[in-house]
């Protein structure tokens, strides 16, 4: 489509474009980008719905193949990422939380520590950072793996064996990543909160552990648990769906795999942040 619009002043649908002025050129460009972006969104949502549909329609198809696959993806994206998440949790705890705690105590605002931690770490930083780490380590690898198998025709080979590629390749990844991001977020939050207190303790902040945890406990509401679960699982699903979409949904040549990987990473981050914004709205409404 882009080729035709470059060679002659035509719209993507083939209609001739009116004579271009600067404002119009800009509008056309912006409009074209918006339409392109919305098209991609639509396709992604369709892909997500298909994957969700296949999960339920084929729930009892070949459990001996798909359930070990889900376990394998949980191991790959969850268990093996635990050290990395622990390291990051520690680092964030020491760098951000410890400093915040000692700063707040210094200005005498230490009664807000609980609320602050819950908002920053549990609601926002935990799920989002975990999602980004999982995306970088597992999502990008998934695009390369799926894109290569698509380019080499292995997807057709699956179809020839009567195996639904969505059911075999996408659904296990989707649920595996949902469980992994959720569990890793919990670990991240716990480790960050603990190491944060440790840093504050080392800096001689006059605050008892019981007070710190009491503040955290009072600041947490039941919505936080529900939202954390929902949000982290959604991030996992988004990463899996975007990465599988980029790797699988369209015929791919092997030299297009790096581009598809970059696109998947960018779109996943954007999609996660957008969904995060929706969750903020949900928090405000509750």
């Amino acid at each position: 489509m882009e080729r035709t619009s470059a060679s002659a002043p035509r719209f993507p649908n083939g209609r001739a474009r009116p004579k271009a002025t600067l404002a119009r050129v800009f509008l056309n460009f912006a409009g074209y980008r918006v339409i392109e972006w919305m098209d991609r969104m639509r396709e992604l949502v369709a892909f997500l719905l298909i994957a969700l549909g296949v999960t339920f329609t084929r729930f009892n198809t070949a459990p001996r193949v798909t359930r070990p696959l889900i376990r394998a993806h949980i191991y790959r994206a969850g268990v093996r990422l635990l050290p990395m998440i622990a390291f990051l949790g520690c680092a964030i705890g020491l760098i951000i939380i410890g400093q915040t705690v000692s700063l707040l105590t210094r200005v005498g605002a230490h009664t807000f520590i609980g609320t602050l931690m819950v908002t920053v770490v549990i609601r926002e930083l935990g799920p989002l950072l975990t999602a980004v780490v999982v995306l970088a380590r597992v999502g990008a690898a998934a695009v390369v793996e799926l894109g290569t198998s698509r380019a080499q025709g292995e997807v057709e080979a699956l179809e020839a064996l009567g195996i639904d590629p969505i059911h075999y390749l996408v659904v296990p990844r989707m649920w595996g990543l949902a469980v992994s991001v959720f569990s890793l977020t919990i670990y991240f939050v716990l480790i960050a909160l603990l190491s944060g207190y440790l840093f504050a303790f080392l800096q001689d902040v006059p605050m008892q552990p019981s007070e710190y945890f009491h503040q955290l406990a009072t600041a947490l509401r039941w919505e936080d648990f529900a939202m954390l679960t929902l949000k982290s699982a959604t991030f996992g699903i988004i990463i899996a769906v975007v990465c599988c979409y980029e790797g699988l949904a369209k015929p791919l040549r092997i030299e297009e795999v790096p581009d598809a990987t970059t696109r998947a990473v960018v779109s996943s981050v954007v999609a996660c942040v957008l969904v995060d914004a929706l969750f903020i709205v949900a928090y405000l409404l509750i």
């Binding site: 070949a62 193949v65 025709g153 292995e154 057709e156 080979a157 020839a160 064996l161 009567g162 195996i163």
Partner: protein, 264 residues
Amino acid sequence: MSTHAETIARPPVIEMFDCAVASTRAPGFAVLPEVNWRVSLDDYWVIGGPTGSGKSDLLATAAGLQRPLRGTHRLFDRELAGLHESEQLRERLRVGMVFEDGARPFPQLTVEENVALPLRYHRDSDDAAIGQRVAELLDAIGLAAFASVGPTALPRAFAPRVGLARALALGPEVLLLDNPLAGLDPRQERWWLDFAASLAEGHPLMKRRKMTLVVACDDPRPWLDRGRQFALLKENQFLPLGGRADLERCNEPLLRDLIAAKSP
């Protein structure tokens, strides 16, 4: 056509009427705009055609992996387009397909897991039964020693055999082979020709049931005294040539060209 009378008597397995075969590289473009083809039970078709003539697309369409742009495609006398997905799948699984360029084994799985995958996915039998069937298949294709290595670690000539065993795992009645001899040395070539012949005659692996074979190739010479029905793909057309006897009388220049292409 000399074989005409007997093909009428045997039931059809693959039928394409007025079919436009789409190209995988450029979807929407008909690489073979009008195919009329009927494969009957126990046929042994050899389809020759130069590179890029649409052999793979024809086989993919015949196997039901790719929808024809137009026309009727029937498998075992049932029109695919009108069937429910699960019914369609049942008919499709009666047709096995060995892809070209190394038959595309899954590199993440071992040879054994590759062959076991369709059985695990479609059959409810226990692991022991599946393991036994896989061992039989690997024995028959001579890869028993390589069961637990990945297909990329295999000698290159053996990789297509994994695809063959995988395609045979579910016991199909028809086998489509896409350019199986490309890049093989004469010894490997002979193995494939003999194995195909034993499948056509009824291999013990397939309970001695005769298999219907369709072979697409760019060099028909090794198949000339093996196949029973012949066709060519020439300039976007499907040209049936008839049986082996008709071949001798045939003076189609493309056939002469393909046969002469590599001879000394």
